[in-house]
């Protein structure tokens, strides 16, 4: 019996609430920049941006961060993971909100923080995640959390957005399959 599930409507409500929290903490939308971490941080950043625009009538700049080149496991995995492009407007002096779908070990965020440094010096960096599923391996916490899920380390949390997942919109926790 899984209580760790969100349907599309719940996702949209959670994201609207997160957008409100970002605005409240930041004191408005000025100097904000939403940076989506590939792959599913990107649709999250887009939705947060749309919700902020609706609330404040202000378009917040958005960027895409691919952290592949900053992974700490490149020397232990083979073959190399596919590298995709990053697009980031100037982050100088901005409050950058890193957006990712799931916060798990924290290693992706560590890599994203390193990547951000190579683009300049933001005023502050915040972290927004749709789901915090625990099991951190690094001292990293999110500032804006959609939902906290209690999970087993071997379970998989899958976030689906219509544009990246063939029209599906939901969050599900999957049990480990036998070959994993």
């Amino acid at each position: 019996m899984s209580v760790s599930h969100l349907d599309g409507q719940q996702m949209r409500r959670v994201i609207r609430r997160m957008a409100g929290e970002i605005l409240e903490t930041n004191g408005g939308a000025s100097d904000l920049l939403l940076a989506g971490i590939r792959t599913r941080g990107v649709p999250l950043a887009e939705r947060l941006g749309a919700a902020i625009a609706q609330a404040e009538g202000l378009d917040v700049p958005q960027g895409i961060l691919d952290i592949t080149l900053y992974r700490d496991d490149l020397s232990t995995i083979a073959p190399q993971p596919v590298v995709k492009e990053s697009h980031l407007p100037s982050i100088e002096g901005k409050t950058v909100v890193l957006c990712d779908d799931v916060l798990f070990t924290g290693r992706t965020i560590r890599a994203a923080l390193d990547a951000l440094q190579d683009y300049g010096r933001p005023r502050a960096v915040r972290l927004a995640v749709l789901v915090d599923r625990g099991h951190r391996e690094l001292p990293i916490q999110a500032d804006f959390v959609g939902r906290v899920f209690q999970t087993q380390a071997r379970e998989r949390v899958e976030v689906a957005f219509p544009e990246t997942d063939d029209g599906r919109e939901e969050v599900v926790v999957l049990q480990p399959t036998s070959e994993e």
């Binding site: 691919d66 080149l69 490149l74 083979a78 073959p79 596919v82 590298v83 995709k84 492009e85 683009y119």
Partner: protein
């Protein structure tokens, strides 16, 4: 598709999927060179040796920049400034370098097959940066990358390759690559600089520059490699230019959006006029820029391959 090769020795053995993977990866690496801080930590702790037995400015510095932007530690050995000229055999040199535990070796050598010989014997990955008149795979890949950026695709693109076909390793790699990717290739050059049975590779052999460039999307001019000819096989520079030197007049025969390429170094006034080399159709400097991204992609992909 995932990359599994330890070495990049030539285009001949690559599949179209592997070529696509390199070009797509290079596309992502272009962005790194546009950042304020042009460096990523990806190859931190890896060692790359650049072993150049023939002179090179462009290719060597392009590899070196690619290595530095990926945070690899790189060492340069060139024949003019090291013990490579003291009579040591290539294999001994290589075994000594192997003892220093590099992860990748980039080699340019005057003898065809030299990189292949090293690749068989060394644990390190080997990248062919030009072996005699055989192959120059990274040049062909950066040429293809440049064409794809300008034309959107390689499929169905018509390319004329003109000049010293016989001595060119660039042309061999390029013919293999362009045909695998669905482009059509014409070649032209003086008969004394055309190898026999060229059409068996699947290219159209033209007898004049005019015929070769008519209606094409891309004109690729080759350098006349004076240093590889025991006797000059053309009567004079002036005559070569008159028959096979690319001028603005020729470009009017090609497609309206034709691009002109040259692997460099150029002999201005021999195979190409300055008017064309510096003109609006020229993408010669784009090729140099693409070179860094393509070489970063290759270094990245090869360093993930594991011994079977």
């Amino acid at each position: 598709m995932a990359w599994s090769r330890k070495d990049l020795l030539g285009i001949a053995e690559l599949s179209a999927e592997e070529i696509h993977l390199i070009l797509d990866t290079a596309e992502s690496f272009r962005e790194v060179s546009e950042r304020p801080i042009k460096k990523v930590p990806t190859l931190r702790g890896r060692t790359v040796i650049n072993l150049f037995f023939e002179p090179s400015t462009r290719t060597r510095s392009s590899f070196e920049i690619a290595e530095k932007r990926l945070s690899a530690d790189s060492l340069n050995f060139s024949s003019s400034t090291s013990a490579l000229t003291k009579g040591e055999s290539l294999l001994d040199t290589a075994m000594n370098l192997q003892a220093m535990a590099p992860d990748l070796i980039v080699i340019r050598h005057g003898h065809p097959g030299a990189p292949h010989m090293l690749a068989r014997r060394l644990k390190a990955g080997v990248i062919n940066a030009g072996d005699g008149a055989h192959e120059h795979p990274t040049q062909a890949l950066l040429d293809a990358f440049t064409i794809r950026r300008h034309k959107g695709t390689l499929q169905g693109i018509e390319v004329a390759i003109v000049g010293d076909i016989e001595h060119s390793r660039v042309v061999r790699s390029n013919i293999h690559l362009l045909l695998k990717m669905g482009a059509k290739v014409r070649v032209a050059g003086p008969f004394t600089l055309m190898p026999a049975a060229l059409e068996t590779l699947g290219v159209e052999v033209c007898s004049s520059l005019e015929e070769a460039v008519t209606g094409v999307d891309v004109v690729m001019m080759l350098r006349v490699q004076l240093e590889r000819q025991a006797r000059l096989r053309v009567p004079s520079v002036k005559e070569y230019f008159r028959l096979f030197g690319l001028t603005k007049r020729h470009l009017s025969l090609a497609k309206d959006d034709v691009i002109v390429m040259h692997p460099g170094p150029m002999n201005r006034g021999m195979e190409i006029s300055s008017e064309v080399a510096d003109g609006p159709y020229s993408v010669i400097l784009d090729q140099v820029e693409s070179g860094v991204a393509v070489r970063m992609a290759i270094l990245y992909l090869l360093s993930g391959a594991r011994e079977p």
